[in-house]
């Protein structure tokens, strides 16, 4: 934010020009002065404001300034410069003032938003981290989450995939519960979906990590709280700020399929290895070869000798190139108006994001519009009223694909054989029902359109009956609806015989489907606080109540057989009708209280308590009390520390301990035995499909809250003249009474074991953050780094047999059980000599198959009983959980230039890939990528992959050390260079500031992961993440 309002404009002329303006406007007094830092260096570009007016100026290169005021004896000036504390100067009749600005102790003096209060960071006792809008600015962000990746220790952001509009997910401090569970995300106190808001509206983000700081948010805060505060009007005249960014995105990893000639040969080889003969006969091979070597004089099809109605395909199509664009355009614009006049504080903004996808034959698109208005008014000295409204609207458009497709299909297809051309010689789409023609799906399959409307209205007031006593009440209301319309068209399917035209697979009958979700959320929150100061004793008391209710209602209506393939409407179809609906609700309620005690800014203590209830539990198990306590000691404020204070500016230790509850597991009614129904069973009686009722699952009547108990130890410090600051936190989080299936019983039970509060786990972790900020003349810079880690272990679980495929006490989260690989067999003799592998695969083992190590020396390779006591030759070969997450950020400014970079990564993670994308042929339908060609053959004995076959797929492709991948990575997330236009150019147009910049995102990645995978998205079914180059402009009036 600061970077928008302020800038380093220098030069005598601009000050002179400013002065001229003022002189022209009114006849008033001029005051002069000089500004330096504490080391007496002259400071230029300091913004100087005259309080209570719109008058402002800046200091010149020598630190000199002059400003017009109404009177020399009253009023005040304010001095602002990035990297320095804002300083206020009361006028006392002098004509000339010398002003010294102190460097800002960025982190420690900062005021951060915590539960129902704003507090100096240095006085916090819990584990709290926060960042301001700086990390979000000037980046081509599709959502807020992507901007928060790697900036806060142990705040893990799942970036999802590269589909337009795909949202982010959040986790605080690692493993939460075997049931999952994430942090509570609040935008200005309400549970707004952070993926729906405009990142440009965000003022700050605070993460409450430990139980003590999160506890005040109670029922849903067990796994941390992310508080997002949006911008409000700032003191001073009205400001208009415009931000515009256009970026060119390109997919990060583009896999490469084998070409046609490689494909047919590899297919034949694999079919033979699998016990069959050649898959393609000589005639077929000849056609493929002819087209492969000379596409100009040969056709990619030929008539099937056995069926003259059909073509056989002999083309050489690069389906990636045919279906995907290399680049897509994205635009992001927002404009805001903000200010504070008299008693009214206002911020209004409008933003638009328009993101194009990578499909070549469809205008795949996500658009989001945001309107935002924050207003507050101090009506008198005892009443403030406020109002917040947001309207978020998003629109998503993708091709229909097939009936089984979802919105975010990759449109890569698993069976895109290079042999199939896109078109038949007569121009019709190829496919003939046997293969999926992805070009046809993009072009003529219809569409899936989503519209989201997200309306937030909230209001509240603060009463101040007495000094230091406030009463607050807020109400938030949200109406969220998502309206989906799917239009599935029939695609005509051509063969070699023009008389045989049928309909393309899975696209028939044509259909239209509407789905409407109508969700409501309301939240009432009231609290009162009172502050008391008795000499060196400071107390703060807070007590409150909150209630939240969410109701969900949805219905869908579908009708088959459109009268016209191109007209999708329920009334314009003549076929079967299907519809369904649902209605659910859940609610939580809590009473909370807090006491803060601060003795002389040295000893800090905080007590929290909550009494929480949830509709998800039976009446007698509904309410639970959760307490927490935290304390801090500001050692640097002690008398004995005085001598050290010049070296160590701040030092604080803190500790916290507390319980929180979690209730979000097992659906909305986990204790009620529900009998589900199915209205359309696949069986016809008397000409109608039958309806059915299912037996209820077993439920436990004793379900109650999961308890999350967290201990936190922290240290904050600032040294070297406040230039280096940092904090370190260590924590232990025990998740107790996790709701899991009870003790496993034999399968003849015939249903899942009912859930009970039967498991515990422990997560231990730490996070370190360091920041450095300094300035040398024109050059100012900052560096910051975070490093964090956590590790989860199951400590109690119902697994009396000790099965390694289930959870068990002592299991480290993410562990991967597998075989140790010795290599590939090179001869039959070697197989004979080796331990018996028939329990892994009962068929014949051949040279080129995988050789597993007989770890327990019993002469056979097996998984034993699959228990801890007898796991045969299996061992833990790695861990899938990411460890050692880090981020490293730097920003620099020199004269009118600024420069930013940001690295982010994961230090340790193992991944066992699978599927035909990794292995090549897993069935005759697979189409391998190029890397799979490195399979064992007589003439390729040191191959990476085993002999390619379908029959021993299970044996060779066990989870094992040889194919385990190291998914650690380092990625340059952001690199940005900006330039602010000189002030003298802008003065005449009365423009405060113009900055232009270019930013590159995801510029390069260092990883040893197999190059077909993205370390952030090891999944081919989903659209890839992208690299982007963007150009942007910020303008402030």
């Amino acid at each position: 934010m600061a970077a928008i309002l302020l800038g380093s404009v220098h030069g005598q002329q601009s000050s002179a020009a400013d002065l001229q303006n003022y002189v022209n406007n009114m006849q008033q007094v001029i005051i002069r002065g000089k500004i330096t830092d504490t080391q007496h260096n002259n400071l230029d570009g300091v913004s100087i404001y005259y309080e209570g007016s719109s008058t402002a100026t800046k200091s010149d290169a020598n630190g000199n300034f002059q400003i017009q005021v109404n009177t020399k004896t009253h009023g005040a000036l304010r001095f602002r410069l990035i990297g320095y504390k804002e300083t206020r100067l009361s006028l006392d009749g002098k004509d000339f003032y010398t002003v010294q600005l102190e460097p800002e102790t960025k982190v420690l003096d900062e005021i951060v938003t915590v539960g129902y209060a704003r507090e100096k960071k240095i006085n916090l006792t819990g584990a709290v981290a926060s960042v301001d809008a700086k990390v979000l600015e000037d980046r081509p962000l599709t959502n807020l989450g992507r901007g928060l990746q790697g900036v806060i220790g142990n705040l893990t952001v799942g970036v999802g995939n590269g589909a337009p509009g795909n949202g982010s997910s959040f986790n605080v401090r690692g493993l939460t519960s075997v049931n999952g569970g994430g942090p509570l995300v609040l935008v200005d106190g309400a549970q707004v979906n952070p993926n729906m808001i405009n990142p440009a509206d965000v003022e700050s983000v605070t993460v409450l990590k430990d139980a003590a700081s999160a506890s005040i948010y109670g029922t849903q805060a067990a796994y941390g709280v992310i508080l997002i505060t949006t911008k409000k009007g700032k003191e001073g005249p009205a400001k208009v700020s415009v931000q515009s960014n256009v970026s060119v995105n390109s997919p990060l990893r583009v896999p490469q399929y084998v070409n046609s000639w490689e494909f047919v040969n590899f297919h034949n080889e694999t079919n033979k290895n699998s016990g069959g003969g050649d898959y393609y006969d000589q005639n077929y091979m000849d056609h493929v070869y002819a087209y492969f070597t000379d596409p100009r004089h040969n056709l990619p099809v030929f008539l099937d000798p056995a069926n003259p109605n059909k073509y056989l395909y002999a083309g050489n199509t690069d389906w990636i190139a045919e279906t995907r664009k290399k680049t897509a355009l994205m635009q992001n614009h927002s404009v805001s108006l903000s200010g504070k006049s008299d008693k009214v504080n206002y911020y209004g903004s409008a933003g638009v994001l328009d993101q194009g996808g990578f499909l070549k034959h469809y205008d795949d698109r996500y658009q989001r519009y945001n309107l935002n208005l924050n207003l507050s008014a101090q009506l008198n000295n005892w009443l403030e009223v406020r109002m917040k409204t947001k309207y978020n609207h998003a629109f998503r458009n993708t091709p229909y694909g097939m009936n089984s497709f979802g919105l975010e299909e990759g449109f890569y297809g698993a069976d895109l054989r290079p042999l199939m051309p896109v078109y038949h010689p007569d121009g019709t789409f190829s496919g003939q029902g046997s293969w999926t023609n992805m070009v046809a799906l993009q072009e003529v399959s219809g569409n899936r359109k989503h519209k989201e409307n997200d309306v937030w209205a909230g209001g509240g007031f603060t009463l101040t009956p007495l000094k230091n006593w406030t009463v607050n009440m807020d109400y938030n209301f949200n109406m969220y609806s998502i309206n989906k319309k799917y239009h599935g068209k029939e695609i005509l399917e051509s063969t070699a015989n023009p008389d045989i035209v049928t309909v393309y697979p899975h696209t028939t009958p044509s259909r239209v489907q509407y789905t409407n979700d109508d969700n409501y959320y309301q939240n009432v929150r009231a609290f009162t606080d009172y502050a008391l100061k008795l000499d060196k004793h400071q107390f703060k008391f807070l007590a409150g109540y909150d209630y939240e209710k969410k109701t969900y209602r949805w219905f869908n209506a579908e009708r088959l057989n459109l009268i016209s393939n191109d007209l999708a409407s329920l009334g314009q179809a003549i076929g079967e009708k299907y519809n369904n609906s649902g209605e659910r609700a859940n609610a939580t309620m809590g009473y909370f209280g807090r006491i803060n005690y601060n003795y002389d800014d040295r000893y800090l203590i905080e007590l929290n308590g909550r009494y929480d209830g949830s509709s998800r539990f039976p009446t007698n198990k509904r309410f639970v009390f959760f307490p927490s306590v935290s304390g801090g000691w500001r050692i640097s404020n002690e008398a004995f520390f005085k001598g050290l204070k010049t070296h160590v500016n701040e030092l604080k230790v803190r500790a916290s301990y507390g319980d929180l509850g979690s209730q979000s597991q097992g659906g909305d009614y986990p204790y009620i035995p529900i009998m589900s129904t199915n209205g359309e069973m696949g069986y016809i009686v008397d000409g109608k499909r039958i309806t059915s009722v299912n037996p209820p699952d077993l439920v436990s009547p004793n379900l109650t809250w999961e308890t999350i108990r967290q201990f936190n130890f922290g240290l904050d410090f600032a040294i070297l003249n406040n230039r280096l600051n940092g904090s370190f936190d260590w924590y232990r989080r025990n998740t107790l009474d996790m709701i899991t299936s009870g003790t496993p019983v034999p399968a003849i039970l015939g249903t899942g074991v009912p859930q009970s509060n039967a498991a515990d786990l422990k997560t231990i972790g730490w996070e370190l953050s360091l920041g450095w900020r300094d300035r040398k003349g024109d050059f100012s810079y900052g560096l910051s780094a975070i490093l964090s880690d956590n590790k989860g272990t199951i400590t109690r679980y119902n697994n009396p047999q000790g099965s390694i495929w289930s959870h068990y006490p002592g299991k480290v989260w993410g562990e991967i059980w597998g075989y140790e690989t010795e290599g590939l067999f090179q001869s039959d003799a070697e197989i004979k000599e080796h331990a018996d592998q028939s329990k892994v695969y009962g068929g014949t083992w051949h040279p080129g198959d995988v050789k597993y190590k007989d770890l327990n020396g019993d002469g056979e390779i097996s998984e034993g009983k699959g228990t801890l006591a007898d796991h045969g030759d299996l061992k833990i070969i790695g861990y899938n959980e990411p460890r050692y997450a880090f981020g490293f950020r730097g920003d620099m400014a020199w004269k009118n230039f600024d420069f930013d970079f940001f690295f982010q990564g994961i230090g340790k993670r193992d991944v066992m890939p699978g599927g035909n994308q990794f292995w090549g042929f897993t069935s005759e339908w697979s189409v391998p990528f190029k890397h799979a060609l490195d399979a064992w053959r007589e003439d390729n004995r040191d191959a990476y992959f085993p002999r390619s076959s379908y029959d021993n797929a299970n044996g060779n492709r066990k989870t094992q050390t040889r194919y385990l991948q190291n998914a650690a990575y380092l990625r340059l997330k952001t690199l940005s260079i900006g330039y602010s236009l000189p002030k003298q150019l802008l003065a005449k147009a009365k423009i405060d500031r113009v900055r232009v910049y270019v930013t590159a995102e995801n510029l390069f990645t260092v990883t040893s992961l197999l190059n077909i995978y993205d370390p952030e998205l090891v999944d081919f079914g989903k659209p890839p993440l992208f690299r982007s180059f963007s150009f942007g402009i910020n303008l402030t009036l």
Binding site: N273, S274, G275, G276, G277, D278, D281, Q282, P305, A306, N307, N309, S434, N497, I500, T502, V503, H506, T508, L560, N561, E583, R584, A585, A587, G613, S614, D668, I674, M675, T677, N678, M681, G682, Y683, I684, D686, R689, I690, T691, S692, P695, P696, L698, T743, V745, P746, A747, L749, G750, T751, P754, Y841, G842, G843, E863, K865, G866, E924, D951
Partner: protein, 541 residues
């Protein structure tokens, strides 16, 4: 919106729950109907892939001995026992409902039929099983008991079926598609024949009574005169057309149909059969008699297999109506012409052996559309009941000419093949070597069963109950048509490997299959043996 704690009392507004159900006899019928979808539907080309009659493109792992004891699942998971639990849950609760006793009994009969259906499938798969007759709770001791004997399981299945037979309405009184008395009788004849022969060939007591029960059940169906072999006097097409019916509910041979209706519910049989990835084996094709009722080794009518078309000449007309040949319409084109195919299809995607099975395949392009086939299929077919009857009688030594004339011979009449005689009248040098002595009549009844029911999913069960696993060791069970040089030249290219006699080797790289007796039963998964130490593994695994 007060602080009242009732704000947290929320109940689902879109779902039934146990206390609110079980009110009327309609509730019972609604619940009992849920099991219909477990009945077989259109089976596609693979129903008999795991047998000596079919050769699939991917070698059947089980028959090649590649299967291992699974870690979990393998047919014995929570989900696999779900339907039995669902039946037992009904049987414990149905008496809460009020209404007509006849209607209540009908629903109970349906549920007991379906419990028998589930248990029969499990009996075939695993042999001994725990008999569970209530919806167990997690603390039930019965969860940890040993398996009950086959006798206990079979007796319980028969008891369920007897209740169903006694309480289900007659066929004429139900809506099309509904379960009725004669369907339950047909199932009983199948179950008792299975268990009777299974025991007979393993010297387990009680087989005579079971075969007697099978014969009585089929006799009751025959005596009802509700059903007859569908015979329009067109021996060259009746068999093929029987499986291409839009509406089987009025068909004289259909005891119970699975009904498909355009748009409402459709299947994919025709397209799947065309892209079958399998084919009939040489040994299967050689099993077909000639029209004179003699096997190819004896009949003067047999023309030899030098050419695919001669091999089919003068044979049991079901052969010409089962596999693709130049006389069987392959596709009825939109311009009115009918397409036939001159050469046998040999391609892994379509047919592995050259014997391309066209039973249930419709030449109508509309039926070929993906997922748009609307032809009904049989759940219970009268011909099976007749074959069950003849076999049970023969195994009991009670199969007279009168029995044959009531069972096998009407089936043969449809395709105009000479009648089977009580004394058979020939010794086929190519009779399958079952590994035990088998009378000529039972040999011929088994042949008739295989031929008539090809592709309907019976073959593996038959091999198991006959203790006939060794048949898969016959090399001809993985070979295809004979390809002479003359035939080869008619293909634009030909690259299949042939054996010494010129027969297509479907698996040129694989050694001959070896039968292992453990394969008669499936292995129990390791996790279940660990959870309940009273469970024992099946022999050999």
């Amino acid at each position: 919106m007060g602080s009242c704690k009732n704000e947290l009392e929320l109940y689902p507004e879109d779902a039934l729950s146990d206390p609110s159900f079980w009110k009327t006899d309609q509730d019972l019928e609604l619940y009992a109907s849920r099991f219909y979808t477990n009945l077989p539907g259109a089976m596609g080309p693979g129903a008999d892939n795991q047998s000596d009659w079919y050769v699939s493109n991917s070698p059947n792992g089980y028959l090649f001995g590649t299967s291992v004891v699974p870690t979990s699942g393998g047919g014995w998971s929570n989900g696999d026992w779900y339907n039995i639990r669902a039946c037992n849950y009904f049987l414990r609760n149905y008496s809460r409902a009020k209404g007509s006793q006849t209607k209540i009994n009908k629903s109970v009969a349906m549920v007991r039929f379906f419990r028998a259906w589930e248990y029969f499938n499990k009996l075939k798969y695993f042999g001994e099983l725990p008999w569970v007759n209530t919806d167990l709770q997690v603390d039930a001791e019965q969860l940890f008991t040993a398996r009950d004997s086959r006798q206990v399981i079979a007796d319980s299945i028969v008891a369920d079926l007897d209740f169903a037979i006694a309480n289900l309405p007659a066929a004429k009184e139900v809506k099309s598609g509904e379960l009725h008395k004669y369907a339950a009788l047909a199932f009983k004849s199948r179950v008792c024949l299975y268990e009777g022969t299974y025991r007979k060939y393993r010297n387990i007591a009680g087989w005579e009574q079971l075969l007697q029960k099978s014969a009585s059940a089929s006799q009751e169906i025959i005596d009802s005169k509700n059903y007859s072999i569908w015979n329009n006097g067109q021996p060259a097409t009746d068999y093929t057309n029987l499986f291409l019916q839009e509406d089987l509910s009025k068909n004289s041979e259909c005891i119970m149909p699975r009904i498909y209706v355009p748009e409402l519910l459709m299947h994919n049989n025709t397209r799947q059969l065309e892209e079958s990835f399998t084919g009939l084996s040489k040994s299967a094709v050689e099993s077909y008699l000639c029209k004179d009722g003699l096997p190819i080794g004896l009949s003067a009518q047999y023309q030899g297999d030098q050419l695919p078309v001669t091999e089919l000449e003068n044979r049991d007309p079901r052969l010409l109506q089962t596999i693709d040949n130049p006389k069987l319409p392959f596709k009825n084109l939109e311009n009115g012409t009918i397409q036939y195919r001159k050469l046998p299809m040999i391609d892994p995607q379509y047919c592995t052996t050259g014997y391309y099975v066209m039973k249930y395949h419709s030449p109508d392009p509309a039926q070929w559309n993906l997922g748009l086939s609307t032809l009904d299929v049989f759940i219970f077919r009268y011909a099976e009941v007749l074959l069950n009857h003849a076999e049970a009688k023969a195994e009991l030594g009670q199969c007279t000419q009168a029995v044959l004339d009531q069972t096998i011979n009407p089936i043969r009449d449809r395709v105009a093949v000479a009648h089977l005689k009580e004394n058979v009248g020939f010794q086929d040098p190519n009779w399958p070597a079952y590994g035990y002595n088998l009378g000529a009549l039972v040999q011929e009844i088994r042949r008739e069963r295989a031929v008539e029911l090809v592709g309907e999913g019976f073959r593996w069960d038959d091999l198991v109950r006959w203790k006939a696993g060794k048949l898969i060791e016959n090399p001809k069970t993985v070979l295809g048509i004979r390809v002479t040089d003359a035939l080869k030249s008619q293909y634009s290219s030909f690259n299949k490997e042939l054996d010494a006699n010129g027969l297509i080797k479907v698996y040129p790289q694989l050694a001959q299959r070896k039968w292992n007796d453990k394969m008669y039963l499936r292995p129990l998964p390791i996790d279940q043996l660990t959870l309940n130490d009273k469970l024992t593994q099946n022999p050999g695994w």
